[in-house]
């Protein structure tokens, strides 16, 4: 594809760039041509369908106000609120747990260190359904927690098939990712700052609270936003645990498949997409780095 654009006229280049050398003519066109296939696929299979989805959401009798009236449905509103609360809780717990563990692993070296890091980051790419099964293994009817509580004579504790199980699942899913982010950020900290604080007489806790945590703030914000967005939009774990769990992705799925209410499903998923996208965009502008959800 490059040969044909080689002889194209040379557009003006920004002054800051070095002078053009022979053989570099037509570069902008070539770059555009290299980007074109990805852009075409993206436009045809993502942007166009997304616009279609947004229009369908507004295509009911209520028109564009459907995006607001869909929340007047108390079921939908409940599901939105419980999903927001769940995601916020998961984010806080995951950040706290991962910061403690991540900082500890960066600040200490001991035998088995590498193995521990490897084990902690291993579930990074597990799909939601498998996470759901892990929760069943822990807290399901034949799960570990129930067996232990029963052995202790406290009765069988089973909470996998509820919001608590989903909470555990999302924390499980998010810990590896957040630990990696915390460790990467903590490794870049300037040790002289900590030495200075110590030489001024600061205790370990003061060093953590006044020096290390503020320095980690951008990383924690971007990891937290990622965790929040993933918990808002994930579907597989809830699907594995119980279809009765009232979270937004399950509501959308039910509207679409069982009620065949495509307009409501479209409106709700556009709303959900806006929330997750906004969470990541806000984090990006605060933290200055690119973040993205997965899973």
């Amino acid at each position: 594809m490059s040969a044909c654009v080689q002889d194209a006229p040379l557009p003006h280049r920004p002054a800051a760039r070095p002078p053009v050398r022979p053989g570099w003519t037509g570069e902008p066109l070539r770059l555009a041509a290299l980007l074109a296939p990805a852009a075409a696929v993206f436009a045809a299979f993502f942007l166009l369908p997304l616009v279609r989805l947004i229009l369908i959401g507004a295509g009911g009798t209520a028109g564009w106000s459907a995006y607001l009236t869909t929340l007047a449905d108390s079921g939908h509103l409940d599901s939105l609120i419980s999903t927001l609360a769940l995601s916020a809780g998961v984010t806080l717990v995951t950040l706290a747990v991962s910061t403690v563990a991540g900082l500890f692993l960066v600040r200490n070296r001991f035998p088995g260190h590498a193995l521990l890091v490897a084990l902690l980051t291993f579930p990074l790419a597990f799909p939601g359904v498998v996470i759901g099964f892990m929760v069943i293994m822990l807290a399901g009817r034949q799960g570990l927690i129930g067996t232990i509580t029963q052995a202790l004579g406290a009765g069988k504790l089973v909470f996998a098939y509820s919001m608590a199980g989903l909470f555990l699942g999302y924390v499980y899913f998010s810990i590896p990712r957040v630990i990696l982010t915390v460790m990467a950020a903590a490794e870049k900290l300037d040790p002289r700052l900590e030495e200075a604080a110590r030489s001024l007489g600061a205790s370990s806790w003061r060093v953590v609270a006044d020096v290390i945590l503020p320095a980690l703030k951008p990383a924690l914000i971007s990891a937290g936003a990622l965790c929040f967005a993933t918990s808002m939009g994930a579907f597989g774990t809830a699907f594995t645990l119980a279809t009765r769990i009232n979270v937004l992705p399950m509501t959308i799925y039910t509207e679409f498949t069982l009620q065949a209410n495509i307009a409501a499903a479209a409106a709700l998923s556009v709303l959900l997409g806006l929330i997750t996208w906004a969470a990541l965009a806000v984090a990006r502008s605060v933290a200055g780095t690119s973040v993205a959800a997965a899973g």
Partner: protein, 267 residues
């Protein structure tokens, strides 16, 4: 910075205990599920004996889903390489507002829940020919979802090397663009391409959020089969199936961890 806090006081042991507890939370269920897949009767426990019977059963019933997942994953890898590496190169060569905007746009399928993307694909292309019942429909979803990971992994490496100088050197020796791209750009980015490829394969094999809505009874992937088996079959079969899934993704997870340790940017 580790030397300072290495006094190994009670704080050290407390934090070590906590970290080990977190590690147990993550690994104990994995170990339990692997063991359950090899246990003759999970309800009775290990004393019922170890067996490969359940794994055999899974391979017999679900081999179609495993093969389809591998087929989609490698097709997805091919697509993301062909689309993503040139795109990353274009973005790296012209950093600026437009490149940032394009990168931002390409990230959207990851920022927006797979459920929404799948619904959008169904309402737009669900009625086009036989696409709805073809595995290509799932492939489209997977390419959208994994492309950003390939672009970002390659872009991160391209950003850390002086591509312009390398290329100018080759150009001054008379190398045309295709030659420069194949012999200078690609070899210098191979760690990024490798990291991106592993990520794409792993994510595609495990993708469920999009796939559950896009699949049909004739195009069931591994995670779809997993969800089926968790919902309807005995725990040993679900566990054995999960074990097969672990065995499929473990090689790429280990390779990825190796890349992370070498200080490659995480994706």
């Amino acid at each position: 910075m580790h030397s300072l806090s290495n006094r190994r006081g009670w704080g050290f042991w407390l934090q070590l205990g906590f970290t080990l507890l977190v590690c147990a939370l993550l690994t104990v269920p994995m170990a339990m599920s692997m063991l359950a897949g090899l246990t003759a009767n999970y309800f009775v426990g290990l004393k019922s004996g170890l067996t490969l019977h359940w794994v055999d059963e899974v391979l017999r019933v679900y081999s179609g889903t495993i093969l389809l997942s591998l087929q989609i994953a490698f097709a997805c890898l091919a697509c993301t390489l062909v689309l993503g590496v040139p795109a990353a190169y274009a973005l790296a060569r012209r950093p600026g507002r437009i490149a940032r905007l394009v990168e931002e746009m390409l990230m959207m399928p990851v920022a927006i829940p797979g459920l929404a993307t799948a619904l959008a694909l169904i309402v737009t292309y669900g009625g086009v020919g036989d696409l709805r019942s073809s595995w290509l429909f799932i492939l489209i979803g997977h390419v959208l979802f994994t492309l950003p990971f390939m672009v970002r992994a390659v872009l991160a490496v391209m950003g850390s090397i002086d591509l312009t100088t390398l290329e100018e050197g080759a150009a001054s020796l008379g190398a045309g663009f295709l030659r420069r791209f194949a012999t200078v750009v690609l070899p210098n980015c191979r760690s990024g391409i490798l990291a991106g490829s592993l990520m794409v394969l792993t994510l595609s094999v495990g993708e469920f959020n999009l796939t559950w809505l896009l699949h049909t009874p004739l195009t069931k992937t591994l995670p779809v089969g997993l969800a089926d088996s968790y919902a309807s079959l005995r725990i040993e079969i679900g566990s054995a199936y999960t074990l097969v899934f672990f065995l499929m993704i473990v090689p790429s997870l280990i390779l990825m961890q190796g890349l992370f340790r070498r200080g490659r940017p995480s994706v």
